[in-house]
């Protein structure tokens, strides 16, 4: 449980954040400079807020009124940053041991071997940080933070320094941590797709305040969130069930509610859930179901909102979840699209990206 209400004034930057959540894993999402990292630094005790309070797991770590300010080394809040911050003078093994050795055995939630196996870093243990690859460093840094048995793990853009191939290699480890260790996490990123890979629970921060928090499909209804997410390259993320593989035509059929979504062949067992994303700009709208068309996916839904943001028009279509389609103002005008209309979202199978295992 996180209950936070803090204020910090740094001249040009004002942070005034309130957040209450019982979700174990939340993604903190917002543009650069919105205060994401500052909130993490405050939780960890690296920055002292001007006033406010926060409680983690029932323990008050800071309260300006009651003069509570638990020392950093007593907070038991793990931190993993973009730069791994491994101790350069220690081997990977000694880095991992650093926090573990400071704990009384009864407080050690995980064993060294368990974490090493989970993160697959057994072969890296005798190396020094400068001998590790970027991905190796991040896995050791994750392991080091976990072995200190934190009550909350803060991940501050842990994948930002890695290229996309490495990102996709590390993400499954984060999911493993979430699923197997049941450790509460706050995952900070400016990439909403990265967050959605890990969790569906979001807190959205903009200009120093948290403007929404909750499930992705809930918060995305908020106009400010939508505009923000869109300006940061929002993709529609759907958690669909794998229904059928067709080897002959090399496609996979997935289902979401009553809609069937066809995409390039996936290597996923039938019946499992998978996260797919559809860029808003790759969705076209039609008022009728079309035939004689190469586009395979025609997802039926109801228009719930039409918003003009900057020079774009975003149409929200409820197909069981909300899909955002980016279309031109002229098209909306010509087709006379209004709220409540029944429309078909046209999506090319090739435009759908597969993100990996579904978070929920």
């Amino acid at each position: 449980m996180i209950d936070l209400d803090i204020r910090l004034n740094r001249g040009s930057f004002v942070l005034d954040a309130k957040l209450f959540t019982n979700e174990p894993v939340i993604g903190l999402f917002g543009p650069s400079g919105s205060g994401k990292s500052t909130i993490l630094a405050i939780l960890a005790g690296l920055i002292k807020p001007d006033e406010g309070r926060f409680v983690i797991d029932g323990e008050c770590l800071f309260d300006s009124e009651k003069k509570v300010d638990v020392a950093i080394h007593h907070r038991r809040i793990g931190l993993v940053f973009q730069d791994s911050r491994l101790f350069p003078h220690l081997s990977a093994r000694n880095n991992l041991d650093y926090g573990l050795n400071l704990l009384a055995p009864r407080n050690q939630r995980f064993s060294f071997d368990q974490i090493v196996a989970l993160l697959e870093i057994g072969h890296l243990l005798e190396r020094r940080p400068h001998q590790l690859s970027g991905g190796g460093k991040q896995r050791v840094a994750l392991g080091r933070a976990l072995l200190a048995s934190p009550r909350l793990l803060l991940l501050d853009e842990p994948l930002a320094s890695l290229d996309s191939r490495l990102k996709n290699q590390i993400l499954p480890f984060l999911r493993r941590i979430k699923e197997q260790l049941q450790i509460p996490m706050i995952y900070v990123s400016h990439s909403i797709n990265e967050i959605l890979h890990l969790t569906q629970t979001l807190a959205i921060i903009q200009a120093g305040s948290i403007i929404a928090n909750g499930g992705f499909h809930e918060v995305i209804k908020d106009e400010r969130v939508l505009s923000l997410a869109h300006s940061l390259g929002l993709d529609n993320v759907i958690h669909a069930e794998v229904l059928e593989h067709n080897q002959e035509f090399e496609y996979t059929l997935t289902g979401y509610g009553e809609n069937k979504i066809l995409l390039p062949l996936l290597n996923k067992p039938i019946g499992s859930f998978t996260a797919i994303s559809i860029p808003a700009s790759n969705i076209a709208l039609s008022k009728l179901r079309l035939s004689a068309l190469t586009i395979q996916n025609q997802l039926h839904g109801t228009v719930t909102a039409i918003r003009k943001i900057d020079h774009r028009v975003l149409v929200s279509v409820d197909i069981g979840c909300v899909l955002i389609a980016e279309v031109t103002a002229k098209a909306v005008h010509d087709l006379e699209i209004k709220c409540g209309d029944s429309v078909y979202c046209l999506v090319k199978a090739q435009a759908i990206r597969h993100l990996g295992d579904s978070a929920d």
């Binding site: 005790g45 080394h73 007593h74 038991r76 809040i77 003078h89 926090g99 400071l102 704990l103 200190a148």
Partner: protein, 239 residues
């Protein structure tokens, strides 16, 4: 001639060992306070910081006779602290090798502090914060993260202090005099030989000895720094 240059007399050998003894003790004595003051100056802000900074650096810019004289006033048998030491504890510092070590330590202190401060300042505070968030008390963080990472610079400081102590002249002769076997270190012995007729060869012998000693100290410093840098995965210096 060459034979003369290598033919050391017992009193010259004693000057050599006395110099090493004084320099070692002065370095040892300034090590812990030097690192502490370096850490204070590198990481803390407090009232009187610039005063402390100036005070520490004073021996570097003053004529060495001045600190020597001040030591005499403070620690001499009739001095402010010296009188108490002498009367209550029977400790005499003037005209003893311990006094020589103290004079050397005072003169070498700024070099120690400067090198260590620079090294500590270059340690990434993010690493210290990371150690704290893993549950380490700031005290432990200093000894397990800050100090090991600053070690190359701290070692340089120690070697510099050691070399400076070997060469200390002005403060030593003012505070503890020039007594053979007690306070006559290499520079003082060289000075003594230059004052007596026909002492030039003997002085030359000691000059060569001093140069060898200083050269060894610098070699050791370089070696230690390379090893420390290699351990941290840093590139060896390009100089």
């Amino acid at each position: 001639m060459l034979h003369d240059l290598l033919n050391f007399t017992p009193s010259e050998i004693s000057a050599l060992f006395l110099s090493i003894k004084v320099a070692l003790w002065s370095t040892l004595a300034s090590c812990v306070p030097g690192i502490f003051v370096a850490w204070l100056l590198a990481r803390k802000s407090f009232i009187g910081k610039s005063l402390l900074d100036s005070l520490v650096h004073l021996p570097l810019v003053l004529p060495p006779v001045v600190p020597g004289f001040l030591l005499l006033i403070l620690l001499g048998n009739q001095g402010l602290i010296g009188k108490w030491l002498h009367e209550s504890w029977g400790i005499t510092l003037v005209f003893t090798w311990v006094g020589a070590a103290i004079a050397s330590a005072v003169m070498a202190f700024p070099l120690m502090v400067r090198a260590a401060r620079l090294a500590i300042r270059q340690v990434d505070t993010n690493l210290e914060a990371a150690a704290q968030s893993l549950g380490a008390h700031p005290f432990r963080v200093f000894f397990t993260v800050t100090l090991p990472l600053a070690m190359p610079g701290v070692l340089t400081g120690l070697i510099l202090a050691f070399s400076r102590s070997l060469g200390e002249f002005g403060a030593t002769i003012t505070f503890v005099g020039n007594i053979e076997g007690e306070t006559r270190t290499l520079p003082l012995a060289i000075f003594t030989y230059t004052q007596i007729p026909g002492g030039d060869t003997a002085a030359m012998r000691l000059v060569i000895l001093s140069m060898l000693l200083a050269f060894c100290a610098l070699l050791v410093s370089d070696l230690l720094e390379r090893r420390a840098n290699k351990r941290l995965g840093l590139n060896p210096h390009d100089d």
